[in-house]
Assembly symmetry: C2
DNA sequence: CCTACCGATCGGTAGG
DNA sequence: CCTACCGATCGGTAGG
């Protein structure tokens, strides 16, 4: 789930109909208000991680950012507008992240392993995505479009990765890149849920690496500088 | 996630400290009250699937079962007691299910594929588990113990399955049964979340079968009567 | 950005 | 099993 913006694609639309109009996107030359808004978005992300979007109260988010809940609604006209801002920020952060480039013999898919390693050190991000993804399962949920989009992008990225390996003749002949891609994304998500529930019992990268290596031909298992983390 | 009771183990404890004492477990010779309680548990499972446990209101659950919310609290003394009853019922149903036995060349792990195929025809079950598992991530959540237990059992079952294959010499030499088991359970969970979000884009069994087959030696891929579903 | 308020809904209890 | 109620909390608005 915490694979948003993975491709560095331009954050397109993000929330479907949802609009962040109003005070929220003023000239932004007013440093103070900008700061408050950033604090609100950060606080919201944290609270969503703790109790989900549905369970989050504007009063709790506002309190953590040091304003009243009516003050929050001055900056973001509705609960949904704040959610949109949180998701936009996540995509922006992910897209701008320069790390995740350590070559590791797994081709583009190495980025996914590196992302998992990064997430392991940022529990809050994982909590945010695991909770939101479960809520957004419903077609009526305000983040539903965001997640269908997110899954599609993640799948396409993984599929490209497997195709690249196939082009190099490194993929086992029976491996279907599309099926392998769906599985890889699902594996990442499932590992995150299990890891949050019981961090000692599971780690995020081992099973992932194992999965990718199973799809490679025997001679390609050396997997380069694997333990670079 | 919807792998509860997979092993047919005696439902042990279930909810940690949580107790279902009180009126809820009377002699049970009173058919009418028994019926009402069953209706309440079924309604609760449905509402949890829609909006999660945290988001579910006793009034909505009671209405679906045809009683008032105070009537519900007569049968189940608290919101948590009702949750315990829902989880107990799920384990009982799973343990008693006689299907899931079609041999398919995958050994014990074939049961997991059969379970996924079954879940594909019972969206409500999957919704219930995906939502609860995300909420139960927090150590404070009343279902947390249930899920740590559930994950542990599921992992052990899968690990046994991989060991059985290894004993038959059917496992590829590089495959670690424990790592493969963690991955298989995670894969099931992640597929379920993706499938709920976008049912047309993903199916529950293909990626699962693919994963298991990747761990087998070349000569074992025929996978027996695969499309028996 | 705040104070003050609105109607709605929540889990749970009293008392039959 | 119900009616009737409790205190708490919710998202959002009015009006500055």
């Amino acid at each position: 789930m915490a694979t948003a913006g993975l491709l560095g694609l331009p954050p397109r639309g993000i929330m479907g109909e949802m609009s962040t109009e109003s005070a929220a996107d003023r000239p932004a030359g007013y440093a103070r208000g900008r700061r408050t808004r950033d604090d609100l978005v950060a606080a919201a992300a944290a609270v969503y991680g703790d109790v989900g979007f549905d369970g989050a109260s504007l009063r709790e988010i506002a309190k953590r950012a040091g304003v009243t809940h009516a003050g929050l609604l001055y900056h973001f006209p509705s609960k949904e507008a704040l959610l949109a801002a949180v998701l936009e920020r996540r995509d922006k952060i992910d897209a701008e992240r320069p790390d995740l480039h350590l070559p590791n013999g797994l081709g583009p898919l190495g980025r996914l392993v590196a992302l998992a390693a990064h997430n392991e050190r940022h529990r809050g991000i994982v909590e945010l995505y695991v909770r939101l993804a479960a809520e957004a399962t419903s077609e009526m949920h305000p983040a539903h479009i965001y997640f269908t989009d997110h899954y599609r992008q993640a799948r396409e990225f993984a599929e490209e990765g497997f195709r690249a390996l196939a082009a190099q003749g490194r993929l086992r002949p029976r491996v279907d890149p599309q099926v392998a891609a769906i599985g890889l994304i699902a594996l990442m998500d499932g590992l995150q849920a299990q890891w949050l529930t019981e961090p000692e019992a599971v780690d995020l990268t081992t099973a992932l690496r194992h999965y990718i290596e199973q799809t490679l031909t025997e001679t390609n298992h050396a997997s380069g500088p694997a333990k670079k983390t």
